[in-house]
């Protein structure tokens, strides 16, 4: 598994919400907002905690991410109820997400991961919605609206699109390095 780049591996660790909530662009925007918010809030809280205590522990990181996840859940339920309803349990799953726990302790990693993850999730949502439902933001796309493949909106399509995007990210990362 160490054949992959650092950020490709990091993006893969956030696979669960990325695969579950990308059947449409709206859902992928919602999960991107939620995950980035949890990542940024836990990053900030951990930075403050590091000033108070130098010792880092996974338990502290997880309780911080769980707190951030609960906060984001409540904020989304209050201000973005439509988007929150689309996500189900997947905002809560961010509480113990390996990608967030890995990236949150470092500010540079937090920012890079947040940008890359949001881009990945939104691109994935666009591809899956066009190929799986023939629409983009609920607007019919010529040709695809009559030639859509339903499986792209389901689990196997999610895995397939994710694997191709991971391969692209992997190739780009190798090229940059």
């Amino acid at each position: 598994m160490n054949k992959n780049g650092k950020y490709t591996t990091l993006l893969f660790l956030g696979a669960c919400p990325a695969l579950a909530a990308t059947a449409s662009v709206q859902a992928s925007l919602a999960i991107a907002i939620a995950t980035v918010a949890v990542l940024v809030i836990s990053g900030l809280l951990l930075a403050v905690l590091r000033l108070l205590c130098k010792q880092e522990s996974l338990t502290v990181t997880l309780i911080t991410t769980a707190f951030a996840s609960s906060l984001v859940q409540m904020l989304m339920a209050a201000f973005l109820p439509k988007y929150y309803a689309m996500l189900g349990i997947y905002v809560a799953v961010c509480a113990m997400n390996a990608m967030i726990a890995e990236a949150a302790p470092s500010v540079k990693k937090t920012v890079t991961t947040a940008v890359l993850y949001a881009a990945l999730v939104i691109i994935m949502g666009m591809i899956r919605e066009v190929l799986g439902a023939g629409t983009l933001m609920s607007v019919e796309v010529p040709f695809f609206s009559t030639h859509y493949v339903n499986v792209f909106a389901k689990a196997p399509g999610a895995f397939l699109v994710f694997s191709i995007l991971l391969a692209l990210a992997n190739a780009c990362e190798k090229e940059v390095n």
Partner: protein
């Protein structure tokens, strides 16, 4: 009653497999820590035990705590369950705490089962089924990856992308149920 519970457990392992249908624990199931069958079996059993304990305690807590505290409470329960498992087994080198704590299958299953409104016995059986389903998928992925690694794989697809592509095919099989 037994027939209904058997139906739930077989659904959790096959048609409603939490890894392939709900994507819970996908990032850990697809990269097992070791290649030997014994290691995967150990890992699968640990995930099953922690999932069952977390689900049972979360179910009890959900009767007294408000719903907005459940994410935080479940995260704390999982951390305690993992610590207890380490203490009870007295075999730290075979238990990777980080791998158990950062497994979205554990928190995801607990929260999904709670959200489904299942009874106590149903929740217990669903958690058990989810753990067993996770173990079976880990075995399947490991076996498939052993075969794939003997063949030519394009460099961008090596490692994680080809693993996710293989999962797409297994998900298609499960989707057929």
């Amino acid at each position: 009653m037994i027939k209904a519970l058997f139906a739930i457990i077989s659904a959790c392992i096959l048609a409603d497999n939490y890894v392939l249908v709900s994507f819970l624990g996908v990032e850990k199931a697809s990269c097992p820590t070791g290649k030997s069958d014994r290691t995967i079996l150990d890992k699968g059993l640990q995930v099953t035990v922690v999932t069952v304990i977390a689900t049972v305690i979360s179910f009890a807590l959900s009767l007294v705590l408000p719903s907005y505290l459940m994410t935080l409470a479940t995260a704390v329960v999982i951390i305690l369950a993992v610590e207890c498992l380490v203490l009870v087994t007295k075999n730290n080198e075979h238990i990777c705490k980080a791998s158990l704590l950062l497994n979205s299958a554990v928190i995801g299953t607990s929260l999904k089962v709670l959200a489904s409104g299942a009874t106590f016995v149903e929740s217990l059986v669903k958690a058990l089924g989810a753990g067993l389903g996770y173990m079976i998928i880990s075995f399947a992925i490991c076996g498939i990856m052993d075969r794939i690694n003997q063949k030519y794989v394009p460099s961008a697809f090596k490692g994680l992308p080809i693993t996710v592509a293989a999962m797409s095919i297994i998900a298609m099989v499960v989707f057929a149920f």
